[in-house]
Symmetry: C2
Subunit: 498 residues, 2 copies
């Protein structure tokens, strides 16, 4: 255990970038934030917590212990049994209660569909731990080896099949929901298990962020654009800061001074720890650049990038750039003003399993371009990436596997005549939008794109501050889902009549 705790820590610290020792890890981004802190604004949805016994390996018959997968179930009373719809959220890389609290759209619309609501937790996250505990599940590469996307989809399918049988609701149509990695799971599940779910709303799902399908610098260019869009001087200050930070780190007591200036709880061991922490903030700010106050990752004001840049820009010429940067990122890490010092090792939502997933299947090449990016220039280096995974976990990634299993190259041709009933919703402020499906593939594989949307904003609860484009986007989603259900019941009715 100790060895892996250490290496996990190392991977986490090196997560996003930046300097030479960590460059290899540039390509291991997380979809969600490691430094996030739960806020106080989460609505209190009512649900029951249940567990379902799963095979650890659905695709082999090795003698492995089963495990209990957690799921949240709600609205059973209002559900139109026996054939009412089931709204099923495909849990992603964290505690399912956190996703349930932040996916208000499902809660908002379920009553009008008289739908049963299920939020299923992803294996190896939250309380859905193989081998009985997180400690045992994350012990080593052997225990982690069943943490894969295909197994997660099989879990969802087995759970749904059993649940419907137990509820005598085999006729119930299932609609899948998911955001970010959960959105990838929802889309892939509709593709792989069309007999289990009639459609999927895949919000901010970067299913094309693999191999060479989209340019590797897409993500960081989009983050950078979000900052540049608010303020060119802010963009330039950030772009300049890395060099200053590196220089300062080399001074006598430079790391100590940086640790103090940035109010860190522990002293830095190197500048990468700090640049990682800063880079994460920028990336996640781009993801959660919502037009109203939110607390998905952290408690934040409306339009947080605007606020960060306002702080960075609001200094006299000649002020040390790192001082401006600290003021800026404090909007992200300490908007409430309650934080005394920052802990770089924090992981309140239990997202660390993503490092394993990134080292096995979810190899998303990431570069940072010289010109368009405010991050240090970097070319994705697969050999170094692989070496790091071998060192951290003793595992060799399979960088081509996801596209073999789920497709991605030339997705229009593959899906035009095949898949159906998938919504790919994206906001162009979201840096993950560049790796998603932004054009309609067919009449029923629809891309909903909003210019000002951020990471799966459509899945959030409606608020009084919602802009019109967001209200309209959600209405379109409801309209499309209604269409899927209408078609399904029509089809069924025609059988009954016959």
């Amino acid at each position: 255990m100790r060895r892996f705790a250490t290496t996990l820590g190392l991977v986490s610290l090196c997560f996003f970038f930046v300097f030479p020792c960590c460059r290899a890890l540039r390509g291991r981004p997380r979809l969600l934030e490691r430094f996030a802190r739960p806020g106080n604004r989460a609505p209190a949805y009512q649900y029951e917590e249940r567990y379902f016994r799963q095979s650890l390996d659905h695709f082999s018959f090795a003698d492995l212990p089963p495990f209990d997968q957690r799921y949240l179930i709600a609205n059973t009373g209002a559900w139109a049994r026996p054939a009412g719809p089931i709204f099923f959220y495909c849990g992603n890389e964290g505690d399912i209660e956190w996703f349930a609290a932040n996916t208000g759209f499902v809660w908002d619309i379920a009553p009008r569909f008289s739908a049963l609501v299920v939020f299923a937790e992803h294996r190896y996250y939250g309380k859905s731990m193989p081998y009985g505990s997180k400690e045992k599940a994350y012990k080593n590469a052997e225990s982690l080896s069943y943490l894969t996307t295909e197994q997660a989809l099989a879990d969802f399918s087995a759970l749904l099949t059993d649940l419907k049988r137990n509820l005598s609701s085999e006729e119930s149509p299932v609609v899948l929901f998911g955001g970010s990695y959960g959105g990838m799971l929802a889309a892939w599940m509709r593709l792989k298990y069309p007999h289990i779910a009639i459609g999927a709303l895949a919000s901010s799902a970067p299913i094309l962020q693999f191999e060479d399908i989209v340019p590797p610098d897409t993500f960081y260019d989009l983050v950078s654009n979000d900052f540049k869009r608010e303020s060119l001087s802010c963009f330039e200050a950030i772009k300049e800061s890395w060099r200053v930070l590196e220089t300062q780190g080399k001074d006598n007591d430079g790391l100590l001074k940086l640790s103090r200036d940035f109010h860190l709880c522990q002293n830095l061991n190197n500048t990468e720890e700090l640049s990682d922490w800063l880079s994460s903030a920028y990336s996640y700010l781009a993801m959660v650049d919502y037009p109203y106050p939110s607390d998905f990752m952290m408690p934040l004001p409306a339009n947080p990038i605007k606020e960060v840049c306002r702080k960075i820009d609001n200094y006299l010429d000649g002020t040390n750039v790192l001082e401006r940067i600290f003021a800026g990122v404090s909007i992200y890490y300490n908007y409430t003003g309650n934080v005394d010092c920052f802990d770089l090792e924090d992981d309140p939502h239990g997202l660390s399993g993503w490092n394993w997933q990134a080292c096995t299947e979810m190899v998303m090449p990431m570069s940072s371009s010289q010109d368009n990016s405010m991050f240090p220039a970097y070319d994705f280096d697969y050999a170094a990436y692989q070496d790091q995974c071998l060192q951290d976990y003793g595992v060799r990634p399979r960088p081509r596997w996801i596209t073999t299993e789920f497709g991605g190259h030339d997705i229009e041709t593959a899906l035009k005549k095949f898949g159906s009933n998938i919504i790919f919703s994206n906001g162009l402020l979201d840096p993950w939008s560049g790796g998603s499906v932004l054009q309609n593939v067919s009449e029923s594989i629809i891309a909903l794109v909003t210019e000002l949307g951020a990471h799966h904003i459509d899945l959030r609860a409606s608020t009084k501050e919602d802009p019109d484009w967001l209200v309209e986007q959600r209405n379109t989603e409801i309209y499309l889902i209604k269409g899927w259900l209408y078609d399904y019941y029509q089809e069924k009715a025609s059988y009954y009549i016959l």
Copy 2:
């Protein structure tokens, strides 16, 4: 090894039925024949034998040794590179060279499509052995545990993706072919990997022979009908024979006499061994009841059931029924007259892995009805089936898994708006036809049904004796495949033009 060699033997002996001790195993039919003997009529197709390195478990990252999958590749010279079609046969539960020799349809039509031909061997069969040898691969439940359908499909997908990349033919459309279990694989692969193959000809593929989708007595009723159709007295003789056989087996020296009367190489240990051997013959006769001489399972005359029944019927009243039965099945087991004695343990095509598959995923419930079946009445008993698998392999079947993974219940609704470009071809003489798709699901999921066809006759090489309905069926298949390719190239061309 020894333990499993023994238990494998036991399963094989008890394969189809009949008497009390073996009843539990009634539900473990094989799609193909264990007692088959290679004939001399196999056409000599030209191909190159190659190997491709595969992950043993595509869906986990356990530290397992890779293995080399065999595939046969042909027609590379005539292939219309770089975007010419690839005709890919999904190997089933035996040596791939045997399937290549018996799938003349692919060889016959490939030249007119300028198609590359690939026959891929299924893992754990032929020369595609994990752990380096059949002995090691079949050692125990642990070594066998990766012999699953999903892994086989992932093998095919990984092989095709790599092959196309190496040939710089990423644009080549792939058309899948498969018969029997290979047909199930072809259909499922088109459903699960639409980005890899544009269509599938699934011949005699009983994808609905699971759980309660079709009545469990379908298979044996169809076999029985094939005999009844030729001769009611033949049907009745067979129906009567089981009781006689059982009675005789209880006599002093009864087993010895039976062994002698049936020209067995070894003495019987019990009557089940003999009834299994007889039952297999009837079932496989129904499958290969072709209208011309063939040698897929065994060298056989045209319309072999007619010949068997002619023998059985061609006796004076009062002749011992077992004598008549022996004369009948000799048509099946010894048509050439070259066999001195019959070896019940024979497995020339290396099909024994099917027993493992039947004990894990491929649980196909089989009953024998009191009235319609010529086999002894028997109700499928899942508890006994499971006990036997636990005893034989120490493995617990997952009888609901196949329908969870691939669907099956209400397949029309699931696929009507989803899948495309699949042909389910079936002949109604084939007892597996009852578990296949016999009605069109949509405009491009087509059922081709022939009244007089047997097990995947359409996949066999064309002969001068082909009846008109068979010529017509194959022409329709060619027409449909042309349509898939035409659509694909049109789509591609429109991209190029844009």
